[in-house]
Symmetry: C2
Subunit: 191 residues, 2 copies
Amino acid sequence: MKLIEDKIREVGRVLPGDILKVDAFLNHQVDANLMSEIGKEFARLFKDEGITRIVTVESSGIAPAVMAGLYMNVPVVFARKHKSLTLTDNVYTSDVYSYTKQTSNKISIDKRFIKPNDKLLVIDDFLANGQAVQGLMNIAEQANVEIKGVGIVIEKSYQKGHDMIKKSGIHLESLARIASLSDGKVSFVEE
Amino acid sequence: MKLIEDKIREVGRVLPGDILKVDAFLNHQVDANLMSEIGKEFARLFKDEGITRIVTVESSGIAPAVMAGLYMNVPVVFARKHKSLTLTDNVYTSDVYSYTKQTSNKISIDKRFIKPNDKLLVIDDFLANGQAVQGLMNIAEQANVEIKGVGIVIEKSYQKGHDMIKKSGIHLESLARIASLSDGKVSFVEE
């Protein structure tokens, strides 16, 4: 999606440690108009999947997920992150390891907010190693519902999340695909 | 706002400890269409305040704030919550105590995302004791900018946040105002 690539070129910052900072429009300051365009694009890309519900993980996934929910006219559920969690019968839960922060979180979704026969669309701001998506796949399995699509705003295509999702056969759409952050420079996958 | 009062009557749950659970549409599952209506309503209510930027606190403030940002055509910044924070010169920070969770968090906003002469609108999902708003007021003071409005989705009008904001002279708009949660029943302020 050219809008996002342009925005990354304009305000993205490459930091040591293979980090792309996009806090100017995505995960600290949010460009609401761009989020709206992102929501429309996800609605277009997944229109044939029969999606009944969008799931994401707080916090940075919420803005693009809610915009997608608006244009797809389906409810959005954001999984809660917890350092620890008292297990109850009322939630689905999974472990998510963050390579960036080198910490493990539990994520949870209240069982009331996934229904039998739901067809889920996972939305997230970033895809790198795919830990968050895997956590949501795990929750979908517990709930015995299908994930019909994964929509990502920015993907680091050289990390393992992309292949992991492709191998699982799920329809993956990443709006900006990064081939490399070498030498402080963003290169996109040529398609 | 009748839409929200109706939704609270329909799916809100009053729990022991003066808790109103609205996780069915606001802070776990999100009704994107309702968030869009909320965004439009905030845009209408604050249209004369010359707002240049919206600020909120992750996570539950993000959905209504981003929708307001869309219809007001201004950037949205969500303050990050931290258990602890290494102080740097790059962020404004403040302490926020949560009566519900009985824990204290630090919130922070990168200094790049508040500009001189900004006129801020604070958006949040809930107003009770006003701790989150006070944290953002504190950050606005550090940044030497003015808060021109506070927009709240659901206010517990019998707690001290309402009066605190009114006394400060800031334009406050709460879309649903709760007078009482006694006997497991939601009563709204009659206006």
